[in-house]
């Protein structure tokens, strides 16, 4: 029972991280039917943005009040990258055959990884560490440090922070989508872009907003990941992005709440697979395999995902 509770906590933490990133995939897909394959890199850029903010302004300062400013720095870095990416690479391809944007996305993804790997330590005026290896991430007080013990279950402070981030971001996202003008515009565009345009909605702007919303959440996830794993590297976006996409499909791509549900489900499945699959195919070496196997199983039996995609295939 203790093992189950422990894995429940681990799974929820992991799942929260996936969910935060998955929202970015699903929001963009819901509006332009584009798999923004480079979204994992936005998450990585967010983590590096937070680290840079800390190195520039607060080097050595681990007080809690620094954290919101780090998150702000992360969000600025991620959103800037995502918006530029949309403007420069994706927008000219909006009416191209579907293969084109997907290949562009792979290109951007490799480009961003390499740019960080090669040039992070060469940024002028600042003394940034070499990003070719793992870079230690500042361990902010209060959200890191000694774990809580609940009976036999260990709960890391960073785990609580990650889950808290998901709760707060979900609330914010709910308010944004349902209560603001722009959010309602997003809903309209995802239902029918042409009609939305006729109703006076600036579709180009909505698309940029969708990229920005996804990037914001990914940036928060980047900070959470940094606190949890204690270091970051230029490759962290690839697997996380892939898993988050799996989560988005699992929940029903195009459906924002599906991303959250899918993320949490995927995290729980992974954690439980580590603990409860007997024999030599269990344990952490195989957890990624089980996650992708789950993706394939979902696509066979319920291609629209757990909550069902809100948008149909308009190809």
């Amino acid at each position: 029972m203790d093992a189950f509770a422990q894995q429940l906590v681990n799974g929820l933490t992991l799942g929260s991280l996936y969910a935060l990133i998955a929202v970015g995939y699903t929001v963009v897909y819901g509006i332009v039917q584009l798999i923004n394959f480079a979204h994992g890199e936005i998450f990585m850029i967010g983590a590096f943005g937070a680290l840079s903010t800390w190195l520039i302004f607060f080097d050595g300062n681990l007080a809690l009040w620094v954290l919101p400013l780090m998150i702000l720095g992360a969000v600025i870095a991620s959103v800037t990258t995502a918006v530029l990416m949309e403007r420069i690479a994706y927008r000219p391809l909006r009416h191209a055959p579907r293969l084109a944007p997907l290949i562009t996305a792979i290109g951007i993804s490799i480009f961003l990884q390499e740019a960080v790997r090669l040039f992070y330590d060469e940024v002028p005026f600042f003394d940034f560490p070499d990003a070719k290896q793992r870079v230690p991430f500042p361990q902010i007080e209060v959200v890191t440090g000694p774990a809580f013990q609940l009976g036999n279950v260990t709960i890391q402070r960073s785990a609580l922070f990650t889950i808290g981030c998901l709760v707060m971001c979900s609330a914010g996202l709910w308010y944004f989508v349902n209560r603001t003008r722009t959010g309602k515009g997003m809903q309209a565009v995802s239902q029918d872009p042409d009609t939305a345009r006729l109703m006076g909605i600036n579709v180009d702007r909505i698309i940029v907003v969708a990229f920005a919303v996804g990037a914001t959440l990914a940036a928060v996830a980047g900070v959470a990941q940094g606190l949890q794993v204690t270091n970051i590297n230029f490759r962290m976006g690839f697997l996380a992005g892939l898993k988050a996409f799996t989560a988005a499909v699992l929940g029903g791509i195009g459906n924002v709440w599906g991303a959250v549900v899918g993320g949490l489900t995927l995290g729980l499945v992974e954690a439980m697979a580590v603990q409860f699959i007997p024999g030599t195919f269990g344990g952490s070496p195989w957890k990624d395999v089980w996650a992708f196997a789950l993706l394939i199983i979902v696509l066979v039996f319920r291609p629209q995902g757990i909550l069902g995609a809100k948008v149909v295939d308009r190809a």
Binding site: Q33, L102, T104, G107, Q113, T280, P285, F292, I296
Partner: protein
Amino acid sequence: MSRRTLPDSVRTTHGSKAPWLALAGGILFLVSGMLSWSYDDRILGDLSIRFYPAGIQLYAMLFGVIGVILAVLLLRRPAWLSPARGLRILGTTGIVFVVWVIASIAYQSGGLINANEGGWVALVGAVLLTAGGHLSPEVDIDVRRWPRLSSTLEIVIIVVLMAILLFTVAYTLDIEDGVIFAAFLIALIGLAGGLLGTGFGDYLGFIGANNRRPLLLAAFLVAFLFPFTQDGSDANMSIATQVLIFAATALGLNIVVGLAGLLDLGYIAFLGTGAYVAAMLSSSGFATVGWKPPFVVVMLIGAATAATFGLIIGSPTLRVSGDYLAIVTLGFGEIFRLAMFNLDGNNGPDLTNGPNGIPAIPDLELLGFDFGEVHTVAGIPLGRFSNYYFILLLLLMFVMLVFTRLNNSRIGRGWVAIREDERAAEAMGVNVFGLKLLAFSVGAFLAGLAGTIKAHQDTSVSPDQYVFLESAFLLAAVVLGGMGTVVGVLVGATILKLLPEKLREVNDYRLLVFGLLLVVMMRFRPEGLVPSKRRQLEFHGEDEELSELLQAEHLQTEHLKPEQLEPEPLQGAK
């Protein structure tokens, strides 16, 4: 498709000056070869001596020669040739060439100050050539109206061109210095483009289309002769074998992506399957399976295993939208890598030795021919890589055969129909699911086949050879060259494997440039370097000229073949 960059009024007022501008540009290029390009005599094969052209200076002089020829042609205003187009290509690549050389001089010798007058003179020459090309009037030419040569003469032309190709390739690969290598490639593009852009290229294409078989034969003859130009050296042959494996695999992927339009992001896993099967069944001391069948059997087992994986992964996902397939194949690629990494006996059965992989795979031995030994043919020693080169060439021929035969069959037309519009295809009675599955498993089969040879050639397999990036590279070869074409993929594969090998100086930036290249290609030339016409139309739907051209060609090729004409008994008397 003619891109007019200048308004016609400018052309008419200044058009008469164009030939003289071009002539001046050509002469400046010629002169620049005699001048010093660099103050530093230690770099780029010593460009510092005047009146003694070396390497890069000679290439510049070649630019000059062709520039002068084109300018003289321009003066005579032929109605059947378009020197303007050639000049534009020559001039633009000339600028790129000179800028590349000057930038390399500045970078390698520590400052622009070290670039001497030659480069700057050449730069002015290149600009003048470009200006001349843009100012001169466009001649609309139709090479089909050129005089027809006898078919023997046409074949002779093909053979001569192929021989030139062989020696150019051998010469190119001999260049050790990466910067000179790139400079030569740029020069080659410019010189060939300058000559062929005048209309000769279209004409040669026309000749080639009329003599498909001799062309293919000559091309393969050249490919077979290539190892004999290497004088027993294995350095270039090792690159060449890598290019061949890469090209064969990319061509297999092209069936899946280019013909059927299914995006497979985990294709490297099928190559890996073949390689691992071959390794496990080999007589390596680390092989994990006791059974040692002959290699032909191993090839079939490896390819069949890969095809089975293709079926397993394809059957659930091919029913859903294409985007899902891309990600599921990506996931499958990761599953494959992780499984190979894990199956070491501690986690699951011991099949792959985990992260260490299976080393010490012995060389192939087929029909008493040992691939590991040096064989001497006609006095020229052929090393280990040459042996593999020959068998890989056979493999490539086989893959090309499968590709073209499928492409020109009912199956291939079904694939194209699915790619263009799945629902319309289904409505017309095309078995969408079956054909998709077939494309997927044929692609996997071919990759598995290539993998079995790759295992022996590399002498080891390990999980880190089969990462996602390799799949992305394969996809890039297909996209870069041109989806759905054979030549395009060969070009793409050669570029992607050869350039990183030669440009060691910039090896660290390889991936960065690669990522950027994908983005730029998709933005400006999504149909690839050597596009199929149909594909080109898909990306440039608004181009009416192209669509008319395509329709005319289609009518010509499809309906004028005598064997395809319906017998018409009513007009039998004619």
